[in-house]
């Protein structure tokens, strides 16, 4: 089964088949508190934060950027930014996890957009789609459960919603590029991204 999205006519497997099912609340109050301590300059708290989020940040950045050496640079940028700006994190405005992953995704996307013209990126994606390192996917149980939940929720989306969300998020394409790749009008892509994410949100039981 797995989740498959079309990418310029080529299938891209997003997730490997799940080994087990389960659900878990992602928001970790501990991480929120930890980040507060990081904001007060506690290096030990930063180390703990690093250990909690490094695999998540690395996996995401790797997924978007692909190149291992560049990914490492971006991951380091992200974590340094987390350290630097931790005092600005406000728990009332969202979880520490979302704050960190937002920084990570934005940095990853900045990197690919700065580096490559769209045409090169098409080639890059096509070239590397079979080498995406699924053997490097974290195999601990928690990560597997998360992946399974997300996969199951992605399966509740329409094909167009799923493709729009996945191409933007995992490939770092702009909505204009997604519209081009899927040959649908811009307005449609905008709407599908929004209603697709809303459906994901409701499926995952996210509390804003």
């Amino acid at each position: 089964m797995g989740c498959v999205v079309a990418n310029g006519g080529r299938p891209v497997r997003l997730f490997r088949k799940p080994a087990s099912a389960g659900a878990r609340e992602r928001r970790s109050p501990e991480l929120d508190l930890l980040l507060g301590r990081v904001g007060r300059g506690e290096e030990a708290a930063f180390e703990q934060t690093y250990d909690q989020v490094a695999d998540l940040v690395y996996g995401l950045v790797r997924r978007v950027v692909r190149d291992p050496a560049q990914s490492e640079e971006v991951v380091q940028e992200v974590l340094v930014e987390v350290w630097r700006n931790a005092s600005r994190y406000e728990p009332a405005k969202g979880s520490a996890m979302a704050w960190i992953m937002t920084v990570a995704h934005r940095r990853a996307v900045d990197r690919v957009r700065a580096e490559q013209a769209a045409s090169e990126r098409h080639a890059r994606v096509a070239r590397s789609e079979q080498v995406v390192a699924y053997d490097e996917v974290a195999e601990d149980v928690e990560a597997r459960l998360d992946r399974e939940r997300v996969r199951r929720c992605l399966d509740t989306l329409t094909e167009l919603q799923r493709q729009s969300v996945a191409l933007a998020y995992y490939e770092g394409y702009t909505y204009r590029e997604v519209a081009e790749l899927l040959t649908v009008p811009l307005g449609t892509v905008k709407t599908r991204m929004r209603d697709g994410l809303i459906r994901m949100r409701d499926c995952l039981g996210v509390e804003p």
């Binding site: 695999d55 940040v57 390192a133 998020y169 994410l197 995952l204």
Partner: protein
């Protein structure tokens, strides 16, 4: 157009907006609580999409990152009112000598456009201590971008000072009813950073702006005379600020 902007919430949460659209949407976000609330929920959602891609980070990355962090000063928390900028400016001028060399070293790496724009900055610095203070900061970094057909925008930023210097060339003269406005753009907000008036040669003199806060980009738009609280037009240029 408002209603249309609102539908960008999904693309925004996916970081799928090009810089121009992103700036416009963030302007909208600052005035629309319902949108901000929706974006918050969608960001929690995309975070889980991200978490689903988890992969084992190499061990050496931990060592490197922890070492790096020990060398990086943290930004202070946001406080209601920041200390007057003038106080910082006093310290700048005696560093002016080291400044030219430092800027040149930066500029060489970024090409001729940078050298030219940097040269403009160098000249103006003698007259402007606040500018010199930023340019001479040990962590000063330069970012440049094209502007129009022949122009360039240059930002020198110092995270330690929490300030940037912005200068540009190649700007057309605007009618009296309009002005150029600079913006500091961060993940949460877009803040006005000052109005700019090009000289007859199309250059704008170096302008100091800050506090940077968590701003990660700088944008320039055309606004009605007197400026706007939030951008209302597509930016002429958006420069991404380096983290470290």
């Amino acid at each position: 157009v408002r209603e249309d902007l609102h539908t960008l919430a999904g693309a925004y949460a996916l970081d799928a907006l090009p810089d121009q659209d992103r700036l416009l949407f963030e302007g909208h976000l600052a005035r629309c609580d319902a949108c901000a609330e929706e974006v918050r929920g969608l960001r929690e959602t995309t975070a889980q999409l991200g978490a689903a891609a988890a992969a084992s980070a190499p061990a050496h990355l931990r060592v490197q990152t922890l070492a790096r962090v020990r060398e990086v000063r943290q930004v202070p928390p946001v406080v209601p009112d920041l200390a007057p900028r003038a106080r910082r400016a006093r310290r700048g001028s005696r560093l002016a000598l080291g400044l030219a060399a430092a800027c040149l070293a930066v500029a060489v790496g970024t090409g001729t456009v940078a050298v030219r724009a940097q040269h403009e900055l160098d000249r103006a610095e003698a007259a402007n201590r606040a500018v010199a203070a930023v340019l001479s900061a040990t962590d000063a970094r330069t970012v440049t971008g094209g502007l129009g057909e022949a122009g360039a925008a240059t930002v020198v930023l110092s995270r330690s000072r929490g300030q940037i210097v912005f200068a540009s060339s190649g700007l057309r003269r605007l009618p009296e009813s309009e002005t150029y406005e600079l913006w500091l753009m961060g993940p949460r907000e877009v803040r006005p950073a000052g109005l700019l008036r090009p000289d007859p040669g199309g250059r704008t003199p170096p302008l100091v702006a800050g506090a940077l806060g968590d701003a990660d980009r700088v944008g320039l738009t055309v606004e009605p005379a007197g400026g706007s609280p939030q951008p209302t037009t597509t930016p002429l240029v958006v420069l991404t600020l380096p983290v470290a």
